[in-house]
Symmetry: C2
Subunit: 324 residues, 2 copies
Amino acid sequence: ELEGLEKTKTEIMMNLGNPEEAFALSMIPNDGIGLARLEFIITSYIKVHPMALIHPEKVEDEEVLEEIDKLTGRYENKADFFVEKLAQGVATITAAFHPKPVVVRMSDFKSNEYESLIGGEYFEFGENNPMLGFRGASRYYDERYREGFALECKAMKKVRDDMGLTNLILMIPFCRRIEEAEKVLEEMKMNGLVRGENGLQVYMMTEIPSNVLLIDEFSQYFDGFSIGSNDLTQLTLGVDRDSEILASSFDERDEAVKKIVSMAVQGAKRNNKHSGLCGQAPSDFPEFAEFLVREGIDSISLNPDSVMKIGLKVLEVEKGIEKK
Amino acid sequence: ELEGLEKTKTEIMMNLGNPEEAFALSMIPNDGIGLARLEFIITSYIKVHPMALIHPEKVEDEEVLEEIDKLTGRYENKADFFVEKLAQGVATITAAFHPKPVVVRMSDFKSNEYESLIGGEYFEFGENNPMLGFRGASRYYDERYREGFALECKAMKKVRDDMGLTNLILMIPFCRRIEEAEKVLEEMKMNGLVRGENGLQVYMMTEIPSNVLLIDEFSQYFDGFSIGSNDLTQLTLGVDRDSEILASSFDERDEAVKKIVSMAVQGAKRNNKHSGLCGQAPSDFPEFAEFLVREGIDSISLNPDSVMKIGLKVLEVEKGIEKK
């Protein structure tokens, strides 16, 4: 009964992690989910490191083996436990927002988080700086996690084909180089996830300068780009945001970030790919949202509790553009 | 007695820090100094935080005050002690390589290093991550270090004008944004260092992506660019170089870095500015030196102990270009 609120052309989407809240929050006006994190599902429901389910003979500690058995109790093949649970969580979310598009980011645990999953210490090798370390795409084709990724694919395939929830879109995080892109896609094909097949779309997180610099080459492998502004900013300005003391006039004039963002946006337009942005920023800086709309970004994704506020900001900007 | 070594067109220069070795190392064939660090002179000869010499009334601890007095014993104005010592160290280096150009990088202590100078703890505010913190250009115009920078300028002016060692060139490190450039130059003018005046040239270290992205705008303020490849790479790839395990085929195809480096080189050419590179890289990867020569970089600066090796590599590449 909310006819009274005009739709915005720029898609206003939400971030989501907890499938249980899906239905409750779907009542908030929105254009779908811009970012769905698998982390919540994996920590709360599966709790087991995927590789521990595939190669149990490498788990030496008995107690862990039992805990796993107790969890995967009734499954012929432990791996299915992972696939089933994951599919089911994703399905809940997808169903709650059907038919609006739901973009799911494939797992992007930092390795010390992977390690704290049950059985994890047998498949992870400690890094001093996980934040800029072995994460995201660089795992998918690698001996250490290949088969884990396979299970994630099987789960997505199950949601799309078996349950016919075709409004599901996949997103690859932290992809550094071109080959990485190739290999990732190839891994997906081996797991029955072919781009385009049955309307499957695959997006790429754009959070490294090199993603922007090589955006044309990346375009051949992906259907859309989603800009992650936190890391992109740090990496672009080479600034550790912990020591800024706020000079009143600092942000009006900073172009480098805007430039690399618009390069990303234009790069997406140039290749007729979908572009979006998620991260703390636009809800922090209204005129940043304005700037995005002006750049003609396709969509913006927000925390549920600031949809209303930003939506309106967007609407008014669009009007400001039409009049002109 | 070294007739037998052909000169290379690409200038091969050296890194230097210790003025005492100047004369001894000047015997190595070279085209001047590509990078002279002030850090050594300041820690070994001056030992005092410049600001402590200007605003002694903020030094509460008596002992420190004395130590300062004992050092600056016979100077009317303590500040002159800083100027004199600095000028004299730089003079030694400049004289040793006269008339070849000597590029001096203005101080780029990290703040915890500044802090450990005598009297430092009264002028520095601890940062958790000094590496990406309050360093380089961002100090020169700032209330906290402005006057310190003034002394550095006075010392350089003294070396150039008073001693007539005009082969001295200045370089500004870690400059994030356009305004920073303006303000720095303005600070130098106030201290009698005007670009061009008496053949004065001012270079900029290029070690942040934003330097490359805004290279046209930066061109109006500087006479040359020197690429710092360590940080530039980390920032471009968003990679913490501590956790790469060697994939056999990893580096052949990585274009992002080459791209942003050539963007830097071309940006320099485009604006008829001098371009150079210093850092571990070219002495690590020969074909990187090759690539630089092909990009038509003006000069490369090395540790004294690898001048010979790289020189030759360059020579041969140049020949490879002329024949073609």
